[in-house]
């Protein structure tokens, strides 16, 4: 998808860096800021009761291009947004002595956010006499994660071993004869593995070479089920990209479901595909995500006693 604007915009990239973070005046260790993952983790055990996070940010644009271009009264703003709370906070950054660079401090109030906030930068200027036009934006946003204690950009699936018979998880008792269950109701989807299911943990965590084909076929089976459930949860009633893990699931699976359509086109196509055909396409995509064919192939060769070709 290409955006076209009716006035000249900046070609060069706009780079946004978070350089330091303080939680109520206590500096966060730098390893909680990851420039390569474009992520800041705000959950620090020793400062759990913070109210305000203050971040030093710098935005750098293509200095030569900005200098030569037709843009007047340029200013640089950074925005903090979170979909779940529909919060938008915008801060204007002061210019620095370096050409094409802006730098300043922005505040994140804990009360305004619940999970992850996105941080983006935008350059606005007067173009052709019209003020406040967007002339450049960051390609890649930063994620400010309120609950993470390491800055990894991943809406990871949580995997937990639980005895489904245990009194502590009454809702899982219904499934006590099942080896695993996927729960998509919370913020992050969770895969519960039943440690009360005899032999499951033994096989899945076995390091014996002889168990390997069976272990990998089992893992593939679990993964395939998981992708199946995740897809149904993500695709339900979807019209536009849903964001978060749901969007990631769709973006990973749709290209395998509709190989000759772009992701946007495939998303539109979802609502018009009939249920039976949709199911087969989902199964195919889930099997690919779970790398089912390789695992199953190795398993079959193993139980048929035929040696595998050396790799």
């Amino acid at each position: 998808m290409r955006r076209i604007l009716p006035y000249p915009v900046v070609v060069g990239a706009l780079a946004l860096e978070v350089e330091a973070v303080r939680l109520d005046d206590v500096s966060l260790p730098y390893e909680m800021i990851s420039s390569s993952n474009r992520t800041v983790a705000l959950h620090h055990l020793r400062h759990a009761d913070w109210c305000t996070a203050r971040m030093n940010v710098t935005v750098r644009g293509p200095a030569a291009e900005l200098n030569a271009g037709p843009w007047r009264s340029m200013s640089c703003v950074v925005s903090l947004t979170e979909r779940r709370t529909n919060t938008h906070t915008t801060t204007r950054l002061p210019m620095t002595s370096e050409l094409g660079a802006w730098s300043g401090q922005i505040e994140l109030h804990r009360d305004d956010h619940v999970g992850k906030a996105e941080l983006t930068a935008t350059l606005v200027a007067t173009v052709d006499g019209v003020a406040g036009r967007e002339i450049a934006g960051t390609d890649d946003h930063w994620t400010i994660d309120l609950h993470a204690h390491i800055p990894v950009k991943r809406d990871d699936l949580v995997t937990r071993w639980v005895d489904f018979n245990d009194e502590a998880h009454p809702w899982l008792r219904v499934y006590r004869t099942d080896p695993w269950v996927v729960d998509t109701s919370g913020d992050t989807p969770t895969l519960y593995l039943n440690s009360g299911f005899e032999g499951l943990r033994l096989l899945l965590e076995s390091r014996a070479p002889a168990d390997r084909p069976a272990k990998e076929a089992l893992a593939g089976r679990i993964a395939m089920d998981t992708w199946n459930v995740l897809f149904d949860a993500a695709a339900q009633g979807v019209r536009d990209w849903p964001g978060g893990w749901r969007e990631t699931v769709l973006r990973r699976m749709l290209p395998d479901m509709y190989t000759d359509r772009s992701p946007d086109d495939a998303l539109r196509e979802l609502s018009t595909t009939d249920a039976g055909e949709l199911r087969s396409r989902v199964l195919h995509a889930a099997a690919k995500q779970a790398r089912m064919s390789a695992a199953l192939g190795a398993y079959i060769r193993a139980i048929r006693g035929r040696p595998q070709e050396e790799k």
Binding site: I4, P6, V18, A20, P29, S35, N56, L157, R251, D260
Partner: protein, 702 residues
């Protein structure tokens, strides 16, 4: 220094002494000719007495100088023909050298030249409170200017010898033959000038030990000073190796007078292999200079006039001491850089890679080094303007680290992207074999670590350096703790640890560490490792001490970047499941199996409608693609309203079907069309909108 570097007129004594040497006349001969005692001549030369006016006139006459020369201390004019090439005759024993061994010892290219030449200049730094300035100037000569330059270097004398030595059966001979062919066919000659300012210059006498003889007369002599990593040692050979003809002309401003003079000491040297011309054998090397009558035709340097150095393209830009080397017929021996632009870039990169730390300055202080590179044609035409190499541009994180250390702004733990952590790393310097001392001395090297930005191409490395701040070692750090940020590290050892305090004398441990590490450097000075020099100079255990130091450095780096809260928390994902249920965003596909918008551009026309040219890339397929372009007005959030087209105009490889779809030609990989929006469907004025073009595959489109 208290002496005036520009004496208005030199004393009579040294002047007379020099004129006699030039003539090859002894003091007694002069005394006899003037009918005075030898003691009187000796008194004149040592400055104890001055001759009467009639004797002075007689001296002018005897020396063949213009009348009054002795009063004004004029020299024999250069144009008098006393300057020419003087070739060393072949060895009596018939021995033949077919190349300079020192030049073969190096893998030559422009990067090595820049590194070696600059290293020599740093080792020869004169005023320790000021920067050494090095300047590289590429200058390509053609036509009249080339001819004029050739006259100045007496090309017609030496060219027949180059031709005679250009034996295609030898490595050196082939290079010479190539050089002559380039000059002949291309009609151009490239000069590369390497200047240093605030350096010692080529001081001392013509033949005895000293800087001049080390550079001009000898091979492999490193004339080591205190700091030197071998100044003018093997490295100087790279100057000659960068000339297609092995030809370098030198102009030096001396830091200490020789023969009572400092300015414009000039000599040229060419390194040819053994050759024969007109039935006479020549050993190879030749010198451009004055004939030395007392040395059987050997050549001496001469004190050139300003005009002469200008003709030689060797005028220096100020009176600071230092040396200008002019490499005649310069080229990149590796063959990588061929144009002036490429050579400029190669030199800048080498200077930035090797000497970024030397070029970093602390607050209110000069750096150790300033370097610049420029390229011209025919003296005047600027091809690449002079670029002063900016360390902060080429090594952002590392330069920040060194600057913070110089300014005393380092911290103990990282909390921000420009913080610099300083840590101490011990180095046990074993005693030298020659001293009676038996106990090792502990030196504290300084390790600086700072976060690296995303633009750093090679993060997670440690660069090591000592006194001159030249990068000696550059190693990757492995086994990093999980969750460690990207970083750059700098290790300052020996005298480099005192860089924030240039006035104080270096401590003993720093000096010992400096010597120890220097001994651990190979001739290229590009690593610290066990060398013969190291095991020969230091007591048993030197190699182990070096290894311990290296692992202590790596351990200290890992410690500094280790996250305080430990690695990733209690993950319970069984190993077998890892990678199968990852929720990373998918990687972008390189060649997607569906039509994609390759470019879309447009503007709002006079009617207020969007007019957009769209280029679509199609995957290979036999059946024709049928696609429907969709136009949407962008919004910040929520659904983006779709706007109908007023018309579609196919431009390349497609046709409009059903008014809103495009049928692409069968087998086409790229189609182009123009779409004009329907104004009646616009939700807002087009001039206030941002639009997007999206493609939809039409169902049933075969």
């Amino acid at each position: 220094m208290t002496q005036d570097p520009h004496p208005q007129m030199e004393d009579f004594g040294p002047w007379l002494g020099r004129q006699l040497r030039r003539k090859g006349m002894s003091q007694s001969e002069l005394a006899a000719a003037l009918d005075v005692t030898r003691a009187a001549v000796s008194a004149w030369i040592t400055g104890r007495a001055t001759p009467r006016i009639d004797k002075i006139q007689a001296i002018d006459e005897l020396l063949g100088l213009a009348s009054g020369s002795s009063m004004t201390r004029e020299e024999t004019p250069d144009s008098a023909g006393s300057i020419d090439w003087h070739l060393r005759p072949a060895h009596e024993d018939g021995g033949r050298e077919l190349g300079n061994a020192a030049a073969f010892a190096f893998d030559s290219n422009l990067a090595v030249l820049a590194r070696e030449a600059t290293q020599n200049s740093l080792d020869e730094r004169f005023d320790e409170t000021r920067a050494v300035r090095v300047r590289f100037i590429l200058n390509e000569l053609t036509g009249e200017r080339l001819r004029g330059f050739q006259e100045a270097i007496r090309w017609d004398t030496i060219a027949p010898h180059i031709k005679a030595a250009a034996d295609p059966a030898q490595k050196v001979g082939r290079v010479l033959a190539d050089g002559l062919r380039e000059l002949h066919e291309g009609g151009s000659l490239l000069l590369l000038r390497v200047d240093d300012y605030n350096a010692n210059g080529l001081t001392d006498s013509e033949y005895d030990d000293g800087r001049f003889a080390a550079v001009i007369r000898r091979q492999m002599d490193s004339h080591k000073g205190d700091q030197a990593g071998g100044s003018y040692g093997l490295g100087k050979a790279t100057l000659w190796a960068t000339s297609r003809f092995g030809l370098v002309i030198v102009n030096s401003t001396l830091s200490a007078p020789y023969e009572g003079r400092r300015d414009r000491r000039v000599i040229g040297r060419i390194d040819l292999p053994w050759h024969k011309r007109d039935d006479k054998g020549y050993a190879g090397p030749a010198w451009l200079g004055e004939r030395d009558p007392r040395r059987n035709g050997a050549a001496r340097s001469w004190w050139a006039g300003e005009r002469t150095v200008e003709e030689l393209r060797l005028s220096r830009s100020n009176a600071d001491p230092g040396t200008s080397f002019l490499i005649v017929g310069a080229y990149d021996p590796s063959g990588e850089a061929t144009t002036l632009q490429e050579m400029h870039a190669a030199l800048v990169k080498s200077l930035a890679d090797g000497f970024w730390a030397s070029m970093v300055s602390g607050r209110g202080k000069e750096p150790v080094l300033e370097a610049s590179v420029e390229a011209r044609r025919n003296d005047k035409e600027i091809v690449v303007p002079e670029e002063r190499v900016d360390p902060h541009r080429y090594q952002r994180a590392r330069s920040r680290a060194v600057r913070a250390y110089k300014n005393g702004e380092t911290v103990d733990s990282l909390t921000s992207a420009d913080d610099v952590v300083a840590a101490r790393v011990p180095l046990l310097v074993p005693p030298r074999k020659t001293t009676g001392q038996t106990q090792p001395v502990e030196h504290s090297a300084v390790l600086l670590v700072t976060p690296a930005g995303d633009d750093e191409e090679r993060p997670n490395r440690v660069a090591g350096m000592r006194g001159t701040l030249m990068t000696v070692s550059d190693r990757a750090v492995g086994d990093l703790p999980l969750g460690a940020p990207r970083f750059q590290a700098v290790l300052l050892a020996g005298h480099a640890t005192g860089i924030n305090d240039p006035d104080g004398e270096p401590k003993l441990d720093a000096t010992l560490a400096e010597e120890f590490l220097r001994a651990a450097e190979p001739p290229e000075h590009n690593d610290w490792k066990p060398t013969e020099d190291l095991t020969a100079t230091f007591a048993r255990g030197a190699v182990s001490r070096l290894k311990e130091f290296r692992s202590a450095v790596l351990a200290a780096v890992r410690d500094t970047v280790r996250p305080a809260d430990g690695g990733p928390a209690d993950r319970e994902v069984p190993e077998a499941l890892q990678g199968l249920v990852k929720l990373d965003p998918p990687k972008p596909v390189k060649s997607p199996g569906y039509p994609t918008v390759r470019s879309a551009s447009g503007e709002v026309d006079d009617e207020g409608a969007w007019r957009i040219r769209v280029e679509v890339r199609l995957p290979q397929r036999e059946d024709p693609w049928v696609i429907r372009p969709l136009l949407r007005f962008s919004t910040r959030s929520g659904p983006r309203p779709e706007v109908p087209w007023a018309r579609l105009e196919p431009l390349e490889e497609c046709e409009v079907v059903d008014g809103s779809d495009l049928r692409c030609r069968s087998g086409a990989r790229r189609v182009v069309f123009i779409g004009v929006s329907d104004i009646t469907g616009h939700p807002v004025n087009a001039r206030m909108s941002t639009v997007e073009v999206d493609l939809m595959r039409v169902r049933g489109g075969a």
